[in-house]
């Protein structure tokens, strides 16, 4: 299952990421954010293995 593959990000890194994004994460909220970001980045990692063809069309395509 995929929830095992948590990315190793620490509170300090997540706090910095928050500042870059424009959000000051309250220290009380940091542990939960770190945990959840780890889970979602673990899921994201699945999307890069193997890498996708960059020419795959993600846009809305109108067909006559």
């Amino acid at each position: 299952m995929t929830d095992k593959s948590e990315a190793a990000l620490g509170p300090e890194q997540v706090e910095i990421l928050g500042r870059l994004a424009g959000i000051a994460i309250h220290p009380d909220h940091l542990p939960g954010v770190v945990r959840n970001l780890g889970v979602v980045l673990g899921q994201a990692a699945l999307l890069f293995d193997p890498p996708l063809d960059p020419l795959i069309e993600p846009a809305t395509v109108f067909r006559p």
């Binding site: 299952m1 995929t2 929830d3 997540v14 990421l17 928050g18 994004a21 424009g22 959000i23 000051a24 994460i25 309250h26 909220h29 939960g32 954010v33 945990r35 959840n36 970001l37 889970v39 979602v40 980045l41 899921q43 994201a44 699945l46 999307l47 890069f48 996708l52 795959i56 069309e57 993600p58």
Partner: protein, 467 residues
Amino acid sequence: MTVLQEELKRPESATAVAWAVRTGRLAAVTLIESLLERIKALNPRLNAFTRVLADRALREARAIDTMVAQGRDPGPLAGVPFGVKDNYDVAGLVTTAGSIVNGDRPPAVEDAVLVRRLGRAGAILVGTQNMDEFAYGFTTENAHYGATHNPLDPVRTAGGSSGGSAASVAAGLCSFALGTDTNGSIRVPSSFCGLFGLKPTFGRLPRTGTFPFVHDLDHLGPFAREVADLSLVYDLVQGHDPGDLACADIAPEPTQGTLGKPLPGPAALLGGWFDDLADPQGREAAALVAKALGATARVTLPGAVKARAAAFVLTCASGGNLHFEALRDRAGDFDPATRDRLLAGTLIPANAVLQAQRQRALFHQEVLAAFRRHALLIAPATPCSAPLLGQPTIRVAGEDLPTRPNIGLLTQPLSFVGLPVVTVPVRNGTMPIGVQLIAPPWREDLALRAAARLERDGVARGPGEFV
């Protein structure tokens, strides 16, 4: 049998109620007064409704009775009581979407489009219903408004995020309800409460007047105790509305007259991801449905694992984006279970989001290929039947996984590509479990046909005989 179950007597179907009201055999006011008493008695234990609209419901009931007395047509759903999830606009009320963060928004000036359409058909709105905050959850354990209890066993979750809507219908507090489904929020509560639920094709029903979660994954749809009711309600809410740019400009395609027709091709059982992550009860339920529908083939969708991952990433990122300002300015007002995930969503690299969109394109092609050979696909709706409220983990494929994010494992890949799905309740255990009938895009009629056949054959059953 619990005391609560003793009280859950089988209410009449929406179709039967409307017939009785239309023919003057039952006054809508009498019906609504009785229902309001029932809500008063049961809702404190279920916490399904957040706001009961007694004055409005009685006013509308009086109007229906007047129409009947005057010989005017009160509509095909005359007097039928229904509820809506707390993310539907109701005129004069703040659309909370299950959060106090929305508390300072102005009240809605008019009902959501689907509520208006049902009102024109004679249905009577009796209240708004509990949900996970901002629809981000599968258990309806809401820090602001409390947990909704499953009417079949109140120590268990009703599912989410449309848990209040499902619990209301299962408990006979309304004849049907409208929910929303972004990653499984109609199908999961249908599974846990033993109901029929429809998540139509993305773009079929206009979302005008509802509070969004993930714009490109949000769907609206009904819950009902019987397939005929599900079909009737669905038919009455179809139709384009320019207020939702994603709503297809296509004419309504009624399904009621098609419920007795056979499927135009073979059905198939989904294997792989959808089999591996189901528990024995779910696997057995899907097999029972497959057998009843004559589905002998088994299809695997290898892209399902990545489709689920991509849906997970897109949902988190989109939610973080949608609520960015509130997360920045008043994160402490969020439900902690929602807040930390949404905050994480604001930090997801764009690279991952774009990759998720590419995965969607790939999976879209994969499922369309499966529908070239099969008219319908079958899969369990949830990895297990309703867990206990507060249960931290569920057992999935031999592992204990956190409950909240993993209940949608079997629903997420399908809504990710916008397929129409009817969930049917199978009662092969102490609690029911849902099976998804997955149709090609725009073919809700096929999923409803199969559901009707399963109901006729006794394979799928609403809550009536359960209590």
